[in-house]
């Protein structure tokens, strides 16, 4: 014979219901021996009421009408188990509703009935103790992945870091300077990249991708595809002599396919992205290599002192077992071709392309030139919100970093081109971080950056100039600017292939492909699968500061997990 207690929480924040009617109806139900309405069940006095009732009435089952089960389950589980009731004999009934009292009450009664049946039918869960393998897989070698890897490795555990491109560093290493300190990212990130490369506890698989994932928290089996580089990285010593003689000149993905005069931004078919690459090992691009396309050349073979070139190399696979996974797969920018009212023109470029031009370690060594003719642009227009905040043609969300990086670029441009003029077309200026607002005001007051409030409707070429049609909504004027270069603050999207990666991991994504956290406010680091954590822009647009903080936070989640030797899982959760 069952002895079930039903507790109706009616705090001020709870969905309003006809409590008396519910109490009366529930009292009649078979198996229910105790019914009471309490205020604030989720805090200590309320929990103590439940514990008292369990002991004094000998309850063998408890139902609690509550708000969010995700946020309250743990609290009630602890409370009932402390009173001697098994956790599976406690169920929360989510009665949240937004209608009138009559409808809410009906819905609550339906929910209580359904949970009551479930409680009566409930079986003790089959629990399995799973040993925790104290090794972590970090997917993505950008700044999020690097921070997470270093923190976990410093904590004493093995890290496997998988990076799709052939160097870690992510997007941060491509930038000219970072806001608001104007640090050079090559200077501040390289020590971290080097440390990652040299750390005893970190193994980097660069030029690699995740092939398959199975398993569960504590024990994930991962198959990693190490893509063929056509260079034996064990024999290679990173001297890069092969790259000096290679004939083809190819538009470089690292340089965002910038086509600059004198092919300054081109790469070879055998290449490394930049002088600080970790690992410092080249790959051969089959599609442009003369050996693969025409059966000719082989200059790299002759040049290499260690005979490291291996045209026969194939993809290989590594299988690892890890206890936790940190996803740090990063972001990409929306292609500028998505905005058709802005012409496809060499001098209409997106943010990261301009970073490469401004970058002192970049293809022009920081000389500001425009792609079409190599001349120094005297007037540059920066357009905010390209594709962002546009539910109709792009994405509805704000990409968070563009306001800051566009003004940073404007300021850096002025520092190089003293007689240049920067215009920033904006709708709002979002400067939420430390020293961000001051940074913007400095750009305006010291460098005469002109902010024009209004989106640009059309951008096209007229001879040597680019015409930007905008408006100044503050004075009510239609604006036309004839400038030399246009920089677009394109929307941030999850990096290419994120959806496929999420599918392999079995984790949820939102409609834009960003990985979904368990709770947006209180559980931002956990994906929908226990043991898989999130860090950085794979979860949503953010700047470097927040990304680094999140990388470290994800690491702490992993370290907390690894502090246990075993985790207990319900059979259903084990695959």
């Amino acid at each position: 014979m069952e002895r079930i207690g039903v507790f109706i929480c009616h705090c001020k924040l709870m969905t309003p219901i006809d409590t008396d009617a519910v109490l009366e109806a529930v009292r009649e139900k078979s198996g229910v021996v105790h019914v009471e309405a309490c205020e604030d069940l989720c805090v200590t006095p309320g929990l103590e009421r439940v514990q008292e009732a369990i002991k004094s009435e000998g309850l063998d089952g408890v139902l609690v009408t509550s708000c969010s089960p995700v946020l309250h389950e743990e609290v009630f589980r602890h409370a009932v188990t402390a009173a001697g009731l098994e956790a599976y004999r406690m169920r929360l009934v989510d009665i949240r509703s937004h209608d009138g009292i009559k409808e809410n009450t009906e819905r609550a009664l339906e929910a209580i009935d359904s949970e009551l049946e479930a409680l009566k039918a409930s079986q003790p869960p089959v629990l399995r103790k799973v040993p925790v393998i104290k090794k972590v897989l970090v997917i993505g070698g950008g700044i999020a992945g690097i921070r997470a890897s270093l923190d976990i490795a410093d904590g004493g555990y093995q890290v496997i870091l998988v990076e799709r491109t052939h160097s870690v560093g992510g997007h941060m290493i491509q930038y000219s300077e970072t806001f608001p300190t104007l640090d050079c990212p090559q200077c501040i990130e390289t020590p971290l990249m080097t440390e990652t490369g040299q750390h005893d506890n970190i193994t980097i698989y660069a030029h690699s991708e995740i092939e398959e994932v199975s398993g569960n928290i504590g024990n994930f089996k991962v198959k990693i595809r190490r893509k063929a580089a056509y260079v034996d990285w064990d024999k290679c010593n990173g001297c890069l002599m092969c790259t000096e003689k290679c004939p083809p000149r190819v538009l470089s993905e690292y340089e965002r396919y910038l086509n600059l005069p004198k092919r300054q931004a081109h790469r070879r078919a055998i290449w490394v992205p930049h002088a600080q690459a970790v690992p410092m090992r080249p790959i051969i691009d089959r599609e442009h290599c003369l050996h693969f396309t025409k059966g000719k050349c082989g200059v790299c073979v002759d040049t290499c002192p260690n005979k490291a070139i291996d045209f026969e190399q194939e993809d290989s696979f590594v299988e690892v077992e890890v206890g936790a996974i940190v996803v740090a797969s990063g972001f990409d920018l929306m292609p500028k071709s998505y905005i058709k009212e802005y012409d496809a023109d060499p001098d209409i470029i997106e943010g990261i392309e301009f970073e490469r031009i401004l970058c002192p370690a970049g293809p022009t060594t920081g000389k500001v030139i425009r792609p079409s003719d190599g001349k120094e642009p005297k007037e540059v227009a920066f357009i905010s919100c390209c594709g962002s905040r546009d539910a109709e043609h792009g994405v509805p969300y704000c990409s968070r970093v563009c306001c800051m990086y566009l003004v940073k670029q404007a300021l850096l441009y002025k520092h190089v081109c003293h007689d240049g003029q920067a215009y920033i077309f904006y709708i709002d200026i979002r400067t939420t971080g430390k020293n961000y607002e001051e940074f913007v005001q400095r750009a305006v007051e010291e460098d005469n950056v002109l902010y024009i409030r209004g989106r640009a409707s059309k951008i096209f070429r007229e001879g040597d100039k680019l015409m930007v049609w905008g408006s100044d909504t503050l004075t009510g004027k239609r604006i036309e600017i004839a400038c030399d270069l246009v920089v677009l603050g394109m929307a941030m999207l999850p990096s290419e292939g994120a959806a496929e990666l999420a599918a392999k991991l079995g984790i949820a994504t939102d409609e834009y492909g960003f990985m979904t956290e368990l709770h947006p406010k209180l559980r931002p680091l956990e994906s929908s699968v226990p043991g898989i954590f999130l860090a950085g822009c794979c979860q949503g647009p953010r700047d470097i500061q927040d990304t680094v903080a999140q990388g470290g936070a994800a690491a702490s989640k992993v370290l907390a997990l690894f502090a246990q030797d075993e985790v207990e899982l319900e059979e259903a959760a084990v695959s």
Partner: protein, 135 residues
Amino acid sequence: MRTEISTETLYSDFVKKVEEISEQKLLSCYQCGKCSAGCPMCFAMDLLPNQIIRLAQLGQEDDIARANTIWICASCITCSVRCPRGVDLARVMEALRLIEARKNVDHVEIPDIPKETIAELPQLAMVGGFRKLTA
């Protein structure tokens, strides 16, 4: 003189009528100005299209009536096509014109149009123009 904004102006009959005829939610507009930026006729307008919809949001019927904007609009629909918030501004402009026109006020004086113009122009100019600009 200060402009009064209150629930009276925000939910006035005028605002309700504009939203009824245009079937648009005026508050969706976040004043980004892209409509004005692409408008082919705004060089001749007293107030820009984005300012007109802002005035409509604030229920300022008289300011809209004093401006020539809605009568210079050529209904090219560029604004609606580019609006990131999906506001069909062309319909809002039409609603504002209709509210005026239904007061039996014309905005083109037919007798004033030179005979040669009428003879030379395709009739679709006349029909279209009279439909848009007269009661």
